[in-house]
Structure formats: C-alpha cells, structure tokens
C-alpha cells in the first residue's frame, strides 16, 4: 500500500504560538484517515499546510510522492478539499459555482458532468438555485460536489459536518463511506468528535496543542483490550493497596478513583480476584481508554468537566 501523504516533522509558528509542533504522519492509499483533536489542536492549520494555504515553518509535506513545495499545481490537480465552511459564491447558482471550480481544475467541463455531480449530492433539482437560498446542509453538499468534480484521488475534508443537523451529518458520513469503499478514494477528514471519526475512519491520529498524541488504526486504538475499568469499593485506599500487590498491578492506573487499563473481557476474572482479596465492590464501570483519553485532553484545557452522577 503506497503512501499518499507523508508528513515529516511539520511545524508552524504564528508569532508566539506554535500551532503545529514536529508533526509526522502517513496517510496510505485508500485510507479514510481521521484527524482528531479539540478546537485549537492544530488540525485546521495542518490541513491548510497540506493545501498550501499556509506555509510551514519547518518540515516536509510529500503528497503523491512529490514535494508540495515544488510540485504544488501538479499535486492540487489530484486533490479535492472542503475547508471548514463550504463557502461559495452566494450570488451564483449551484451549477455556476460547480462550473467555475471545475474549469479551474483543468478538466473538460460538460453539462453532463456537472449535472451528474449535482445528482450525486442530491442537488440536481436545485442546479439553477442561487447558493444564498441554500440551507447549511445543501451548501455543504455543494461544497463536496465542488471538491469531487475533477475526480481527485485524495479528498481532504476539514470538519465537514460542522453546523449540520443529524440527517445532514448522516448524509455526509454515507457519502464519505461511498467515496472510500465504492470509488477507492483516499480521504483525510478532521473532526473534534471521536464518535464521528470512529464510524468512518480506518486510521486516525489525535492531535493536542499541535502535537501528535497517538496514531494508529481505529481497530487498534478502539480495541476492547484498551478499556478503562473504574471501580468503586467500600475502601478504595485498601483496595488499591491490595491490587498493587496482585497480578493486576500493571493494569492499575495512577490517581483516584481506582482505574485499570485492561481487556474488557477480563472483567469477570478481576471481580473474582477482588472477592479473593476480600475487597467489597460497589460498582464497576467500563469506558474506552481512547475516548477517556480524548475526554481528558478536553477537560485539561479549561473546558467544563463532564457531569459525574
């Protein structure tokens, strides 16, 4: 499987702020690659660097085995992108918008091609409607049609579901899955929602304050072997002491309450061992470690702590 995007030691400094710090990752052909991070994590800055909107302060970007810095036009001919809001010419029709951006992509533009594209995103019947009369969801779909009109091999979508209602989110999700599975496109999609990424991506990266926190396949990262089990006992301090001298010592996490990073399938064995250690268990809660980890990044950064009931 060949690498479509290869990013090495990428960084971007805005005056006093390091928006992206020594970031390296690889997107392979056919991947739906999730770019995950809270707002301000550096996702959009990285994506803008991949699209040459922003010049990196350091590092290398290689796309389709060519350096972006020296082969910009050649690379962008094979890339389609929606960056944050799908802003288009509001005073023009959907058809005219699509036509303009198709012509800029150096392809032969025919009415059939444009109508087929509008058909794909469900806007064929609004082809002559001005964009200013469109809903956010329709604009988003038109933005995706613009990104796909020149049949790019790589599609970059920066927060494509922002501002959409649940149906709009589902439509975009289905479209991305179709692009990947039926048309074999490589997709890089950013989001601040883990739940969204895990539904469509096969590989993902989590960014925090411009740095890579974790990268891998979604299957690996969301493996049940990486569940976080939280215990409530009649005497947590004593229970923790006993666990630290048992076979569960390696799984035991620091801090309170008692948490163990372990395979969810082993919970019955844990409870059985706790009974053997004479620990009275009041409750056992399981959450995925990645989800917890991601949530902890959010709470560390001054966001509101989730309500614990």
């Amino acid at each position: 499987m060949s690498a479509i995007i290869r990013v090495s030691h990428l960084s971007k400094q805005f005056k006093d702020t390091k928006a992206v710090d020594d970031l390296s990752f690889t997107v392979n052909e056919g991947d739906v690659y999730g770019f995950l991070g809270q707002n301000g994590a550096g996702k959009s800055t990285t994506i803008r660097m991949l699209l040459s909107l922003i010049a990196p302060s350091g590092g290398d970007i290689v796309i389709f085995e060519k350096k972006l810095h020296t082969h910009r036009s050649e690379i962008l001919r094979q890339v389609g992108a929606v960056i944050e809001k799908p802003d288009l010419y509001k005073y023009l029709s959907a058809y005219d918008n699509l036509s303009i951006f198709a012509k800029m992509s150096d392809i032969k533009v025919t009415r059939e091609l444009l109508m087929r594209q509008l058909e794909m995103v469900g806007l064929a019947d609004r082809a002559k409607g001005k964009v200013e009369t469109f809903s956010q969801g329709m604009k988003q779909r038109l933005g995706i049609a613009v990104a796909l009109v020149h049949n790019p091999a790589l599609i970059i979508l920066d927060e494509p579901t922002n501002g959409l209602d649940p149906q709009g989110i589902a439509d975009i999700r289905n479209l991305i899955l179709r692009l990947s599975r039926e048309m074999g496109k490589t997709v890089l999609i950013s989001s601040h929602l883990l739940s969204e990424i895990e539904l469509i991506a096969n590989r993902m990266i989590i960014l925090h304050k411009g740095k890579k926190m974790v990268e891998g396949t979604v299957a690996e990262l969301l493996d049940p072997a990486h569940s976080l089990i939280q215990l409530e006992t009649t005497n947590d301090a004593a229970a923790k002491e006993k666990l630290s001298h048992s076979n569960w010592a390696d799984a035991l996490q620091q801090g309170n309450p008692i948490r163990l990073l372990m395979n969810k399938q082993a919970v019955p064995q844990l409870i059985s061992d706790l009974v053997g250690l004479e620990v009275s268990v009041l409750s056992v809660n399981s959450s995925h470690s990645l989800e917890n980890y991601f949530l902890s990044l959010t709470t560390q950064s001054g966001h509101v702590e989730p309500f614990a009931n």
């Binding site: 909107l53 922003i54 050649e74 944050e84 010419y89 005219d96 303009i100 012509k103 800029m104 992509s105």
Partner: protein, 297 residues
C-alpha cells in the same frame, strides 16, 4: 490564463455592484447634458465674460458635443477612482470575505496567476467603464448637441487662456485622452488590488484607496515650492488629469493653433511613464506579498 480571466469576468458580470458604476456615470452624464441643453448659454456667457467681444467665436456654437464631453470628463474623471475602487478593492478581500479565497488557492493555479488575472479583470472593468463614459459623454453629446470647433478654457499660472481646436482635429485627441485615462485609472485599480490583499472585507480597501487618492490629490495641489519640487513629482495623483495635455494645442508665435499638435509631448510621455511605473511597482508588490501570505480567512 484566458480561462481564468473568463471566469473572473463572469463573476464580475454577475455581481449587482458592478452595474452601480455604469448607472452612476449614465446618471451624471445625463444630468450634465440636460442642464447644458436647458441653460448652457448662461454658463458660456459666464466663462467668456472676461474676453467679451474680443474673442471671435459664435457663442451659440460653443456648446457642442466635443465641448460637453470635455466638461464632463473634467468633472467625472476625478470621481471615477471611487468607482474603480468599488470593483478592484474587492478582488482579493471580497473572496476572503466570502470564504472562497481558500477554495481558489486549493485549485491548481498559482498565486501569481491569481493576482495577474484579478488585475487584468480590474483593468478590463476600467476600460469598459471608460468606454461607457465615451459612449455617453462623447457620442450621445454629439448626437444631442452636434459637432463644431471646440473651445478649451485653460488656467495657466495666473492667467486664463482660451484655445480653439478645429472640429476635424478633435476626435484623435479624445481617443488619446481616453487611453491616457485608462492608464491613470489602472493605477487606482492596482492600488486597490494591493490594499485588497491585506483585508478580509472590501470596505477597508475601498475606503483606504479613496483616502490615499484624496490625501495625495490635496498634497498634489499644495502650491508650495518645497512640495512642488520634492513631493508632487512622485505622486500618481499629480498625473491623473494629464489627459488634458492632449487638448492643449500648440500655437504659432502669432497665436494660431497648429493642427494635429500638442503643446508638451514630453510632459505627457513623462506622466505616462510615471503612471506605468506605479502600476508595475504596485502589481509587483501585490504578487510578492500575496505569494507569501498565509490564508487564514
């Protein structure tokens, strides 16, 4: 490039604000023509008051199509920069404001191409604006007032001068004057485009362009030797009305106008060179800065 220019012109043609400039010119020209048709003789009597009967010219024929066009150009060409700025200042900042700039940059076109195409489109708009002005102020005036020899009132230092140009010697002067005005207004387009790079909405660059033109025009008109010598020659506003030079006909020692002549060709050439230099510098700076700019909008 041609493909991109077509797209750019298509976008400009679809924006309602484009037609404001054309409508404004038509309205002002019509008001002028109406006023002069109704009471132009009073104006002419006022202008010729000082020369009384010493000037041998049939006053009724003085208000003709050529004269009208000159009067209109003299008034309107000072305001035209605002209309040019309306479109040119929107070039990049308007795209940034709509959010389409980032989409444009992700297309396989270079930033240099984008600036050059925006500049070409603004220049074409300027040419069309002047063409429209020529149609309304020259050709419509000729239809309404007819053609005859053309009177020019000129202030030369302390004294006033009246020049008479034979009607068969006028048309080429207008063609040259409109061509000159195109270059002069293209400086405004280049300035607006340059300012447009720094903004995320078009109001700022439009106001900035108007302010710069205003301040420079005021400085250009300060008749203090130190400014006349050290500042005025470098300001583009000093040359915006250089088109008038084509109507300052050379005369013989006896004061007889020499057909087909212009009093000061070197001054016109010099003015054009300075205007073209301004265009080159502003366009070069626009390309240089825009190529390095981070698109954050």
């Amino acid at each position: 490039m041609w493909n991109l220019l077509q797209i750019e012109l298509f976008k400009i043609s679809k924006r309602p604000r484009t037609y404001i400039a054309f409508a404004a010119i038509a309205a002002i020209v019509f008001i002028f023509q109406f006023a002069f048709k109704a009471d132009g003789q009073s104006y002419m009597n006022l202008m010729l008051q000082s020369v009384k009967d010493s000037f041998e010219f049939e006053r009724t024929k003085a208000i003709n199509g050529y004269f009208m066009c000159y009067i209109i150009l003299n008034t309107l060409l000072v305001q035209l920069p605002i209309l040019v700025a309306l479109i040119a200042a929107d070039s990049i900042s308007g795209e940034a404001n709509m959010g389409t700039l980032r989409l444009l940059i992700t297309k396989p076109i270079s930033r240099t191409q984008l600036i050059l195409v925006k500049f070409a489109a603004a220049t074409i708009f300027t040419i069309l604006l002047l063409l429209w002005m020529a149609i309304t102020s020259l050709f419509f005036s000729l239809l309404i007032f007819g053609a005859d020899d053309m009177l020019i009132f000129r202030s030369k230092g302390e004294e006033s001068q009246i020049l008479l140009i034979s009607q068969d010697d006028v048309m080429w002067r207008y063609l040259a004057a409109f061509a000159y005005a195109t270059v002069a207004l293209t400086v405004i387009a280049a300035l607006s485009l340059f300012l447009s790079i720094f903004a995320d909405n078009s109001i700022g660059p439009i106001i900035a362009t108007v302010c710069i033109v205003l301040v420079c025009t005021i400085i250009s008109n300060i008749n203090v030797p130190i400014i006349d010598k050290n500042v005025r020659p470098f300001l583009f506003t000093s040359y915006l009305v250089g088109w008038k030079g084509f109507f300052y006909i050379a005369t013989t020692d006896e004061g007889v106008p020499i057909k087909g002549s212009v009093e000061n060709w070197p001054a016109i050439r010099n003015s054009l060179s300075i205007l073209l230099l301004h265009i080159g510098v502003l366009l070069g700076a626009s390309v240089f800065i825009f190529r390095k700019k981070d698109i954050l909008s």
